[in-house]
Structures are given as C-alpha cells and as structure tokens.
Symmetry: C2
Subunit: 223 residues, 2 copies
Amino acid sequence: MEDLPHIPEATVARLPIYLRILLETADHEIGTISSERLAVQAGANAAQVRKDLSYLGSYGTRGVGYDVELLIFQISRELGLTQDWSAAIVGVGHLGQALANYRGFGERGFRFAGLYDVDPRKVGETVAGIEVRHLDSLAEDVVARRIAIGVITVPASHAQEVADRMVAAGITAILNFAPAVVTVPDDVTIRKVDLSIELQILAYYQQRKTGMTGLLGHRAAAL
Amino acid sequence: MEDLPHIPEATVARLPIYLRILLETADHEIGTISSERLAVQAGANAAQVRKDLSYLGSYGTRGVGYDVELLIFQISRELGLTQDWSAAIVGVGHLGQALANYRGFGERGFRFAGLYDVDPRKVGETVAGIEVRHLDSLAEDVVARRIAIGVITVPASHAQEVADRMVAAGITAILNFAPAVVTVPDDVTIRKVDLSIELQILAYYQQRKTGMTGLLGHRAAAL
DNA sequence: GCATGTGAATAGATTCACAGCG
DNA sequence: CGCTGTGAATCTATTCACATGC
C-alpha cells in the first residue's frame, strides 16, 4: 500500500494512541513491539492494530514485530506531526485558560500561538505566558503567526459566530468545545468535544445497570 | 419497539444532541418539529433522525412531525436524565477547576458533589463552592453523597491508579481526561476525552489539504 | 398530501483465519 | 516457528425508498 489512498477515519483516531504507547515504549529502551503487545496497551485487538498499521505501509517484520523508532516516525509523518502546528484559542474563560495552561499538548508539536476574547477586561491580560488579544486581531495573527488550528471555548450562543470568524480568517481546522452544533464549509475540518454530552452518555449506560433492579426497567430511587 | 432492546451506541451518542436542540426549540415556543428540521439543526440526515428516534418508540405523528415536549420527555427518560446524577472530580489542576466551574453541566441534572486531590496544598481549599477533599475520602463520599460518576483530571501517570480507586469506591461510570489508556472491569463504563488526540486528528486532515502542494505529499515548510 | 416508521440496500469497521515471509 | 499482512466473513451504522396512517 502506498502514500495517498486515504486512511479510514476510525484508524486515524487510533493512530495517536499507538503513537503515545510507542513513545513510552521507546522511553523504556525497547526496540521492537508486536501487534499483540501494542493491542493490549491500547485496549484493542491485535488484528485491528495490524490492519491499522498496514494502511501506512509494511513496516513490520514477520516473526519479530515492529521497530519502535521506525513506527514512531511513520505514524508521526502520516499524522503530519513532523511539522509544528500553531493553534489559537478563542474564549478566555475557565476552560480556555485551562487549555492554555495544559502541559502535554506539546506532546507532539502543538503550540498555542494566540488567545482571543472580546471582553475588554480580559484583553491585554496574560494567561499562561500568552497575551490575550481582541478577537478582531485574529485574522492578522493567523497570517503572521501561521495559525492553522482554532479552538472554540466560548459559550454556545457565540460558537457559530466565532467559527465564522475563524473561517473568514483563513483557519481550516477547528476544535469546538462549545455545546452547540457549528457548521462550516466543506473544506474546513471541525471536531467537537462536548463534556455534557459525554456525561449524558455515561448516564444512559449507568441507568441500564441500576435501572434493572425494578422488573420493568423503571427509574430507580432518584437521590 | 418496546423498552429493553438496547439502543445502538451511535444513536445514544446523538440523543443528547437532539435533546439540546429540542430544548432550544421549546424555548422558542414551537410545539412540533419534523425529522427534516431536526436533522438540519443537528447536522445530520432526516432518515437517521427518524431511525434514531424510532428506537425510543413511535412518538411522531405522520404528516405532522414530533411533539417537542413529548420528545424531550422520552429522550430524557431514555438517557436517564429524569433523575439527578452526582459526579466526583479527581485532580484539582487547571482542567479539574475549569470543569468544576463549568456552567452548562446542569444542562440536565449533573452536579459535582466532590472534588479530590492528594496535594496537601489543595486539600481544604474551596473551588467553585466545593471543598477539596483528600482522595482517601472518596470511598466514604461515594456512599454518603450517592456519587455515580467519576471524572479523572490527573496527569497520565496517575490515571490508572485513580481509576482503580474509583472502582474500589464503587463508581461504575468514569470520564477520563488524562492522556492515558485506562482499563476497568467489564461492569464499569469508561469514556475518554483526549485533547491532544483531537488536535492530532485535526493535524492529519489539515496536512492532507496543505500537504498536497508538493508533488509527492511531502512535508511542507515547518513554520 | 405529507411526514413518520421501517425493511432492504449500501457503506464502513471489526474480527477471523490463514497464507507468506523472516 | 512466530508474527505480520490481508482477503473473506461478520457485525454495525447509514442511507434509501416506500408503504403506512394521520
């Protein structure tokens, strides 16, 4: 298999996990790893690991396993992590500040190159060593600081508007933390992280467990 | 379709989105909504909306659409949101504090009933109106405060240990923000939110766009 | 007539199972 | 002989298309 045929979405989502495990493995000075071992550590199935890795090419050795360093390089290259990426955070609330301070983003070349808000009390402040600028400065900064990724941490009511401004500013990859459906043009990639949806999903599965106490799956004692 | 046959995972993940849209729709005093309209607002396909909703039962009216209030109730019931849920956050770093302060969790009956850390400088402090307690108190609090959900916001190196203590304390639903694979027994539901993985996925798709400039998809100018 | 509800068709992801190679 | 690489089989999810019923 060669370079261009694109990788299934589900595989792309797992490559970063493999990469992290491989980096840890390399730290332990282990030179080679089997799909079985990688699968156990990733909480997956060995056949899946092999199939996923096969989309990158044939970098394993039969009877031996995968060379850890080689695989780190190949996955990094495939994910585009051989270059550095600059991101802008729009919305300097609790979450925006937490992200700005989050160590472990550098995990693979991500840098927050800008923090934006419209609140005059926040503009001019410094958070995590970055000066908060007015959202109006975003467009010029995208060019000047080569910002490629936008992170939305504003309230839901402003999320679409912020996304529109990001797109207008030339950003084509967005990570949305606001609890709102945001639509963007086809050439813009958007992903969402929605904390309250995650909790609701957990609640569903949790209810299935405890709700089984009554005969008909009725609701259990609420608090 | 009746009560027990369980709902596909993909559908469960979308129900909270529909619910949110329906709540907004209700705010605008609109009594009825079509699958088409719901689909547009959720960024989905009308057939999918109908199929998803059909797992809850037949709550639509042909030729008309769905009664907004009725659907809100049915989805809420299915997701287990007719009861309140208490969650504990373990790890009072930037992210843990941001979550504790996050308004909009109450969006459907979630309450943070406990904040835990092991750092003596943090234990005893108050964050978002909640006293930070030592992780050792978790087990007793799970019982006393009926905590059902655990949220992990500690560094990756401690995530598994914290998860183990949550499980030992009787928690059976966990949301993990630490960039680490955490394993739990089968009867425990775990979901992960991994910020750096999300950025890496964006980087992949971003690269596909810009990386096409060179003939062979080689890496572009790094900064 | 119009929008739901749903079988049937399609697409996508996971797992199996084994041939192929070091 | 052991572990990769991958077609084939299976399972899950999405989309189509239309019969059904208000």
